[in-house]
Amino acid sequence: MNMTRIAIVGGGTGGTILANALSRKLGEEIREGLVEVVVFERSDSHVYQPGNIDIAFRGADPAGFRRPPSNLLRRGVKLVQKAVSSIDLDNRALKYNEGEKMDYDYLVAATGSVATPELVPGLAEASLNFHKTQEDSRKIWEALSRFKRGRIVILTALPHKCPPSPVEAVFLVDELMRKRGVRRDVEIVYASPYTRAYPAHGIADVVEPEMENRDITLRSLFNIDYVDPSARKVFSLEGEELQYDLLIAIPPHRGADVVINSGIGGEEGWIPTDRHTLNIKGYDDAYAIGDATDIPISKSGVVAHLEAITAAESIASQIEGTGRVYLYNGRINCPLEMGGKRAVFVSGTYTKQPERQPPSLTKYFMKRLFNRLYWTMLRGSLEPIFNAYLGSPYEVKHRG
């Protein structure tokens, strides 16, 4: 009998959870050599990206937030620690390791998104960011530790991963400057691309009064156009300008190179994906999950997680021929830390918008706890708890 191969490109949050879920669902088939699950991951360390916030704004040690991918995959999953250079969806084949070829039966693109300051003239030179690497995040901590007086501008460019992260940065910069006793000489400005501080109304209603209380200036509808580093000025598409002494930017993101080079996601590399089935449009044997898709919801670990669970069910069902199709419901649930040990959770689905809620200590501790549970979560052993807490991420339908 022929072996069925599932190739997963990208072993970040989504790819790892998906591979482990498949290894549980199809354990027997894998042991009998009927199914093979292969993960391609080019990096030798898996970074827990929310840890960048602790590195940049709390001076945490980066080493605590990364692990080798091989330690995170369950037995039965094959790891190829190489970059995939092209994906050929029509011929079900990919190339990796500079020219080696592999055929597949099912493909999942879990290649994530890339913060790319170079997309905005002047931005790479002028700004620091915590959306690329741990080293970049560390530079923010060093700059903030030295900063004594002047204006810190925190600026968000669209699109980017983790919608709460800019506002978290704003509150934590405020907290840090207060702790260091220099807050009176430091002006903090948040330049938001939206009409308010946070895209979802209910959450903005909680965030904005808090910013006002802490003397943080909000500049709304400020979409960055370019930066003049010599004049230390940022200019917006809406025709405004903003002076800074220290610029912390959430750069615009794009999809992975392999997606762009394979002609899948246009110039910006967002993979055209059905928001419910998670199939790459036009291919029922290929899926995209997480930050890599063009689905207009939050690019977050929780979405990558819930999409991975949904896609794993669909692929297992296709292989086993059950006729069931799993449809993602757009569930999101992202923590937003507000400083002072308080947090809210931004929760919703494709049909339910995030609601207003008071910030709380409990939610803050839930976020902190999650930092530690992340590695266990990747293996899938916490799935029953997530399911009970969040509810099912999909609806089940029968084909035909």
Binding site: L237, P296, I297, Q353
Partner: protein, 77 residues
């Protein structure tokens, strides 16, 4: 050229993100047709258009969603 942007089902980060993504690559004279279910879309897009000097050509309630057509009229490059 008409760009169709389907931001239905998105509340966070919502329609403005999809609009700006498309606006960055659009040319003066292009139209962006934006579909959204976020009830805040109307006022948000109107505020953005007013500030950025772009023109809203149409804003219409369809069954269960809002359709907006924005003409790109104020881009410097």
């Amino acid at each position: 050229m008409r760009h169709v942007v389907d931001a239905r089902g998105s509340f966070c980060p919502g329609p403005i993100t999809e609009l700006i993504k498309t606006y960055r690559k659009a040319q003066v004279g292009d139209e962006i047709e934006l579909l959204a279910t976020d009830p805040a879309a109307k006022s948000d897009v109107a505020a953005w258009a007013a500030k950025s000097g772009n023109e809203i050509v149409e804003m219409k309630e369809e069954q269960g969603y809002i359709r907006m057509i924005i003409r790109v009229s104020s881009k410097s490059k």
